[in-house]
């Protein structure tokens, strides 16, 4: 399986993603400069965290116009895998590849800490190695992770099982106290209707090695790799 990690001006989690995919998981991984339209036949595109274009105008608003995004839009429309982490999630909602928007945290400051997430759907390429309702531990680091969507969109996300991660307590309870940033419905990550695009605020690439305190993030990438291998087998 081949991964491509996009570098926008201001991306700063790009090489963390590269490290995990290439060096920890041993996958073929290339860096994709945002001005280049060629996705180099990558099977999964990673939009990493950071501050693309200095967060000018709105987070993710300018990155949407990078030439590489046109190719990614096409890749996604063909069912290709895309994962947007933190600023990558913000870019995906600005690009309307995922529903909703990410507002400033309701606490009005940057949050950088581990959070607990409840896995809400395991029928996706990104989560098939988890158990439904399992609680995992992955860090967040953001100023604008407060997920918002109009009620009609939220209802649709719920009924189509597009919500994959919710902020929760260590025991799995979801309530106001377990919600770090004010996200509606405690949403930490969602997938597209076709389940091939994942956007999430927490950083799985920062929780993929025991040395860093959690390996739960690695299982998202391992799910992807297993899903892809199973699908390739079906194809040929």
């Amino acid at each position: 399986m081949k991964f491509g990690v996009v570098i926008f001006p201001g991306s700063n989690c790009d090489y963390d993603c590269y490290h995990i995919l290439a060096e920890v998981l041993g996958q073929k991984t290339v860096m994709l400069w945002h001005e280049n339209r060629d996705l180099q036949e990558c099977d999964c595109i990673v939009l990493p965290g950071g501050f693309s274009y200095g967060d000018y105008l709105r987070t993710g608003a300018i990155a949407r116009f990078s030439p590489v995004m046109e190719s990614i839009r096409h890749h996604a429309a063909q069912g290709g895998l895309v994962i947007g982490i933190c600023n990558g999630f913000q870019i995906l909602v600005e690009s309307q590849l995922l529903d909703g928007a990410l507002l400033p945290n309701n606490v009005a400051h940057f949050i950088c800490r581990y959070v607990h997430l409840r896995v809400e759907n395991t029928q996706t390429p990104f989560t098939q190695l988890f158990h439904l309702g399992e609680v995992i531990r992955i860090p967040i680091a953001h100023n604008q992770g407060n997920y918002y969507a109009p009620e009609s969109v939220l209802q649709n996300l719920r009924s189509q099982k597009q919500i994959v991660f919710r902020y929760c307590h260590p025991n799995g309870d979801v309530n106001q106290d377990s919600n770090p940033n004010g996200s509606l419905d405690a949403i930490a990550g969602i997938v597209s209707p076709g389940k091939n695009i994942l956007g999430m605020m927490p950083h799985p690439e920062r929780s993929s090695e025991a040395l860093l305190g959690s390996e739960d993030g690695k299982r998202i990438f391992l799910s992807l790799i297993q899903w892809w291998e199973e699908n390739q087998r079906e194809k040929y």
């Binding site: 105008l57 709105r58 608003a61 507002l103 400033p104 309701n106 009005a108 407060n146 918002y148 969507a149």
Partner: protein
Amino acid sequence: MKFKGKVVITLKPGVFDPQGLTIKNALHTLAYREVEEVKTGKYFEIGIESADLETAGKRLSEMCDQLLANPVIEKYHFEIEPVLC
């Protein structure tokens, strides 16, 4: 002809505005107790070269829809006027 557009972007009703809330609290700290609400937004001045006012306004409206405002959370209004040299 040259025109100047003045665009104001604000959050749609019901969209939480933590900056506005923080500023309101700071005004209360300064003893401006009469302040009941603060809403933040963005302001842009855009210089446009266009054949006429109607075209300039139509183009500016498109710019707001496509980039300046995010229709999921924001609304906008603008004024546009000829620039007299």
